[in-house]
């Protein structure tokens, strides 16, 4: 069971504040969803490998490069990337070179 304290702790980890109403709703919803998820414990998985992604299991070999689908290597060469001004174009606040943010440490 998730408690109110858990909700506060997880909200902190996730950088969410949540209103009082949102916290109450979250407590109810998380418990209902986790209650449903409980059914996974009906399965004995002690001898089953975890599967993090599809490509690891179905890594199809490439006919052209001999490499696999899972681990793709490329030469470490300098290539064009997004120009600085375009990369900054959506920033809420900049000084022209860097992203500006509020104070990190209070003095």
């Amino acid at each position: 069971m998730v408690s109110e304290k858990d909700v506060s702790y997880v909200a902190d980890l996730a950088h969410l504040e949540l209103t009082t109403e949102e916290r109450a709703r979250m407590l109810k919803d998380l418990n209902s969803i986790l209650g449903y998820i409980e059914r996974l414990n009906q399965l004995d998985t002690s001898n089953v490998e975890p599967m993090a992604q599809v490509a690891g299991r179905y890594g199809a070999s490439s006919e052209t490069t001999g490499g696999t689908f899972e681990y793709v290597m490329r030469p470490d060469e300098l290539r064009p990337s997004l120009p600085h001004d375009e990369a900054m174009s959506n920033a809420p606040q900049t000084d022209g070179t860097f992203f500006k943010v509020p104070k990190v440490i209070e003095r």
């Binding site: 998730v2 858990d6 909700v7 702790y9 997880v10 909200a11 980890l13 996730a14 950088h15 969410l16 504040e17 949540l18 949102e22 709703r25 979250m26 919803d29 998380l30 209902s32 969803i33 986790l34 449903y36 998820i37 409980e38 059914r39 996974l40 414990n41 399965l43 998985t45 089953v48 490998e49 975890p50 599967m51 993090a52 992604q53 599809v54 490509a55 299991r57 179905y58 199809a60 490439s62 006919e63 052209t64 490069t65 490499g67 689908f69 793709v72 997004l82 375009e86 990369a87 174009s89 959506n90 920033a91 809420p92 606040q93 992203f99 943010v101 509020p102 104070k103 990190v104 209070e106």
Partner: protein, 482 residues
């Protein structure tokens, strides 16, 4: 010209044979969108300048008598989770309300290189999280077949524009059924390719091990054509497979005699609407008539797919959505005094309820003390689900199921019950966990006139057989679907 009826093939032919210029075609679509879309709400942003520039390029080539590219002049729409250079790209979220993408997603760039014309960006559940489109940060989309019902989600806008004829075809994304479920609800064809078949560069990430890009169309041939021109290795996406892309169009229309079609008992059990069952069984009958061998198979871990999915998808989402912090793009809360406060206030204001719920669930599942019990457990069950499919595919070539347990539900019907909403994806999530391709094709209508979808799942990288099978169902049932 009735533009509502145009397919990818007939739209290109119309331009090629100069029945209409690409520019006039684009204008006709914008007129239709402006007249009809406000009642449906499928478009979030129109990109008229970009569409007109592309139409002029096509027309100039046509005037010179040059060979036209394979999708030349075909007006399409793009789900707003795919980046489009110089065009607002929101992922259906207020947190990206003002985001203008500085680059194009590979799938979009490839379709444009093949001559397609992007009309605009379609509405969706916020960050593709939802099964009804009611989680859009902007407004819900209505099902063009019945405005009191949802179009499905999360790619509801992309399904709706094809159903309404306000685009010829479209792109969506599918993380747990987000192409196939709305495809079924709106009565159109929707394809989720194999994991690795289509580049995801420029797709705003929801759950990276489950996210796929795929097409919607009016016909199986249309989705085959769109897939043809976006599939294949992309150096910008290390998870795209370096495998040859077959000629899909050549295989659509080929006979299916002797094909082994698996019917999994677990997909026809409790919770399946009787009308959906009857329509899907009629589709299976048609495959038998066409010479397929129908084989009963078992996917014994099916009932564990939804809980597995909602742990893995939310865990990955909580990590992927950490980037939305008000620093580099999107909105920023103004009143914050410290950096930490700015992060929280920005995310509180920018994210909707469902997105916050999933971030919370995912963060919880990954948090210290719970990681093994939830996240790792789900990854182990994911292996069992993959094993189910390995065993079934040792006996059969494709698997046929209903796409959804019921036809489209009413707006508001499930919006207060997240668990009930999650169960709308019960037949679609497994294909994402296992990575196999899947298509939905209309197979009938309910008595109330709502479309019903039949799902065909194939082996990894065997979209060709999936398309071939879907084409047979589509043609056999054309009269029933109407």
């Amino acid at each position: 010209m009735n533009i509502e009826l145009l397919t990818v093939h007939s739209a290109r032919t119309a331009v090629l044979e100069k029945q209409i210029t690409a520019t006039a075609l684009v204008d006709a679509f914008y007129q239709k969108i402006e007249a009809e879309d406000p009642a449906i709400g499928a478009y979030l942003t129109l990109c008229k300048d970009r569409a007109h520039r592309q139409a002029e390029r096509v027309d100039a080539l046509a005037d010179k008598g040059d060979a036209l590219s394979p999708l030349a002049g075909v007006p399409i729409a793009i789900k707003d989770v795919l980046a489009t250079k110089g065009v607002r790209t929101t992922a259906g979220s207020k947190i990206l309300d003002n985001f203008i993408s500085p680059y194009d997603a590979t799938a979009v760039a490839r379709l444009e290189a093949a001559g397609a014309i992007v009309l605009g960006k379609t509405n969706c559940d916020e960050f593709a999280m939802g099964s009804s489109n009611e989680n859009s940060g902007f407004h819900p989309v209505k099902n063009p077949r019945d405005h009191s019902r949802v179009p499905g989600g999360s790619s509801g806008g992309s399904a709706a524009v094809v159903a309404a004829g306000t685009a010829v075809a479209s792109l969506g994304s599918d993380t747990g059924g987000s192409i196939r479920q709305p495809g079924a609800f709106c009565g159109v064809v929707g394809l989720k390719p194999t994991y690795g078949r289509v580049s995801r560069y420029g797709l705003i990430a929801f759950a990276s091990s489950l996210d796929h890009v795929g097409p919607f169309g009016k016909t199986v041939k249309d989705v085959a054509l769109i897939l043809q021109h976006m599939a294949g290795r992309d150096p910008l996406d290390s998870t795209s497979a370096d495998l040859p892309v077959p000629n899909y169009m050549q295989q659509v229309g080929e006979p299916v005699k002797g094909l082994r079609v698996g019917v999994p008992t677990e997909y026809f059990g409790e919770g399946l609407d009787p009308e959906v069952r009857a329509a899907v069984e009629a589709g299976i009958q048609e495959l038998a008539k066409a010479g397929c061998e129908i084989v009963s198979v078992s996917l014994p871990h099916t009932e564990y797919a939804i809980p597995t999915y909602y742990l893995i998808a939310t865990a990955e989402a909580s990590a992927n959505l950490a980037r939305f912090d008000g620093v580099r793009y999107g909105i920023r809360a103004k009143e914050a005094k410290t950096l930490a406060e700015m992060y929280c206030k920005t995310r509180d204001a920018g994210f909707g309820t469902e997105v916050k719920r999933r971030i919370m669930l995912g963060t919880y599942a990954l948090s210290s003390g719970y990681y093994d019990a939830y996240y790792l457990k789900a990854q182990r069950v994911r292996s069992l689900l993959a094993r189910d499919f390995d065993e079934a595919y040792a006996q059969v070539d494709v698997i046929v199921t209903p796409t959804t347990p019921t036809p489209a539900f009413k707006l508001g019907e499930k919006s207060d019950d997240p668990l009930a909403m999650y169960l709308a994806d019960i037949y679609t999530v497994t294909a994402n966990l296992v990575g196999v391709p899947g298509i939905t094709v209309p197979c009938g209508n309910s008595k109330g006139g709502l479309p019903i979808g039949l799902q065909i799942l194939g082996k990894h990288f065997d979209e060709a057989t999936v398309l071939r099978t879907a084409h047979v169902v589509e043609h056999a049932l054309a009269e029933k679907v109407g």
